[in-house]
Amino acid sequence: MRGEVSFRSKSLSDYQLKMMFIMPTIILLIVMNIFPLLWSLVLSFSDYSAINSQAPDFIGTKNYIRIFSQKATWSYFVTTAYFVVLAVAAQFIIGFGLALLLNREFQGKGLITTLMLIPMMLSPVVVGLFWRFILDSSWGLFNYLLSLGPAVLHKITAALHFPSGIVSWFKDAASNARGIIWLTRPKAALFSLVIIDTWMWSPFMMLLSLAGLSAIPKYLYEAAEIDRASTWFKFRHITFPLVAPLLLIALLFRTMDAFKLFDLVYIATAGGPGSATETVSMNLYRRAFQDYNTGESCALAYILLIFIIALSNIYIKYLNKAKGNA
């Protein structure tokens, strides 16, 4: 005790000690976050290419004007929006559904929950790579599984001498399923990305929903039962309003993340075929590291940032409303 006191009085005041602990973080933040953020803001108003030795040349809002006047830019935003809406909606439905199923006591609950969480622990690069194999149209597992149902039904209907129309319909369905081309056709490719992202991130939705669900005390349901509430009524008026704040947080995380989707696209489709899966982030990458148009890509990055902030604010507004209710 005495040693500590004398050590402090000799060398460091409370304030200095505080600073000593905080400084490393502050310096790291400034170097890694704040400076790049501000520097890229400067660059977004400059004509600059990272591979030229020329200094940035201030050109005002020209970068922004160019980006906004390109028709393609809008199509990247539309592609991204499609992806965000489909993927986040699917993840929400699947994740929340799984959470509802898992929110009860049964044998092996812990093991099943852990297994379900594996997808989100994997690296997106790994996920992208093996889904490329799974979705392969000639020998991928996905098409095989899809065709399994119709194939079995085909066998059964054939064996039971169903009308030949039905039998051949199943046969066609099976062979059609086997031949679906996923990653190299425009519409299917975007849809594939949705499938992969959903596979990867539904567990996250499930985890947060489960946390919310298990925090609802059981006696609330008992009180509702005494009042003769039906299962649906209980879900609608107790479960849903009470987990809503947590669901909104999960949705916010997923939306922000999905809006920035890059890694999966880069690995699975590289934005193709054509520009069917070119998300804003993918396009940003292209401008920055393929065209080396650094100034322009900084401008696009800022546009994306503003979009995401605006979107988050909408969520946060709803979140505050939901929280105010709870």
Binding site: I226, R228, S230
Partner: protein
């Protein structure tokens, strides 16, 4: 309104026997308390009446209708949970209206009944408050309003006052009593607080380890405890072990050779039977002199505690520690080490046969 009959009810959780062969009938409109120490099975019985548990053995009847197999939502009970179980995301009136909304009662009638119920528990004007912004006592009353607004035929209350401080507890207790008298609703009240049970109840069932010890009015249970557990759980009792010497009109019980007590009792006990005597501290009278009173023995004051309007003494009578509570009358204060004479009134001693 309804009567409730439990017929040979038992409940086992795996190996634990929570409730053991309970038989009791709760009359229509009666305020009935289940009293006992923690873990004695009170909540389990209440939850069986509500329908959350099904008895392992035995049947439950409401008005002679067997409801043993019915789920909670078919029993028309109202319940106040120990934790209140208010819906945190709803306002006071939404909470109270919940059961009415489930029953699809139209908005105007709903509003009327909610406001009536809130008036009943003195919460008019709080309709639009969030329940999370209420005090414990107010939340408790909202829970009460929610339980009665659906006009249940049986009201179930599980330790509704246990989260309140002493003063609030007394106020709310009075309110529950008034409400029950007003609505004349059959009420089952769970508590571990004997004072609560004694003041509120028409009748009490005293439980211990899932077994019913005694059923009776507060007065019966207090003045005529059926065993040593009841005698010491309800209020305080001096328990003395003795043996019946004779039983002719008035019983003579020998505790020590020089401590023989006369007891008036209707119990048919044979000489030589071992008994326990339960004597309430407030029934014992202290005197300065013997003056040849009946049942009066010499003792020494060991401890005096002044409690305001009562004074509590511990008296050593032939090695038996006797607890005495007297009213505070200045002329009769005794000091420690004083010699006193303790009188045990003949008709205020309870006899509990020892069954071994």
């Amino acid at each position: 309104m309804a009567s409730v009959r439990l017929e040979n009810i038992s409940k086992k959780f795996d190996d634990v026997v929570a409730v053991d062969k309970i038989n009791l009938t709760i009359k229509d409109g009666e305020f009935f308390s289940l009293l006992g120490p923690s873990g004695c099975g009170k909540t389990t019985i209440l939850r069986m009446i509500a329908g959350f548990y099904h008895p392992t053995f035995g049947n439950i009847y409401f008005n002679d209708r067997d409801v043993s197999a019915l789920p909670p939502n078919k029993r028309n009970t109202g319940m106040v949970f120990q934790s209140y179980a208010l819906f945190p995301h709803m306002t006071v009136s939404e909470n109270v209206a919940f059961g009415l909304r489930v029953r699809k009662i139209n908005a105007s009638e709903r509003k009327q009944r909610v406001s009536d119920a809130l008036k009943l528990v003195d919460l008019s004007g709080y309709e639009d408050r969030k329940v999370t912004q209420l005090s414990g006592g107010q939340q408790q009353r909202v829970a009460l309003a929610r339980a009665v607004v659906i006009e249940p035929s049986i009201l179930l209350l599980d330790e509704p006052l246990s989260n309140l401080d002493a003063k609030l507890r007394r106020d709310t207790r009075d309110q529950i009593q008034r409400l029950q008298r007003e609505l004349k609703i059959t009420t089952v009240y769970v508590t571990h607080d004997q004072e609560e049970a004694l003041t509120l109840s028409d009748r009490i069932a005293l439980l211990r380890k899932g077994v019913c010890q005694q059923i009776g009015t507060p007065d019966e249970i207090y003045n005529h405890p059926s065993n040593a557990f009841v005698a010491s759980f309800i209020g305080r009792s001096n328990l003395l072990e003795g043996k019946v010497l004779e039983n002719e009109g008035i019983m003579l019980i020998k505790v020590e050779d020089d401590l023989k007590l006369n007891v008036s009792s209707q119990k048919k006990l044979e000489p030589d039977q071992n008994v326990t005597l339960a004597i309430r501290p407030e029934t014992i009278m202290l005197h300065k002199n013997q003056e040849s009173r009946l049942n009066t023995f010499e003792g020494v004051v060991e401890l005096r505690q002044f409690n305001g309007y009562t004074v509590e003494y511990n008296i050593d009578v032939q090695g038996h520690k006797i607890n005495v509570i007297s009213l505070n009358e200045e002329t009769q204060l005794y000091n420690t080490k004083d010699k006193v004479y303790a009188e045990f009134p003949v008709n205020r001693i309870s006899i509990i046969p020892q069954t071994i």
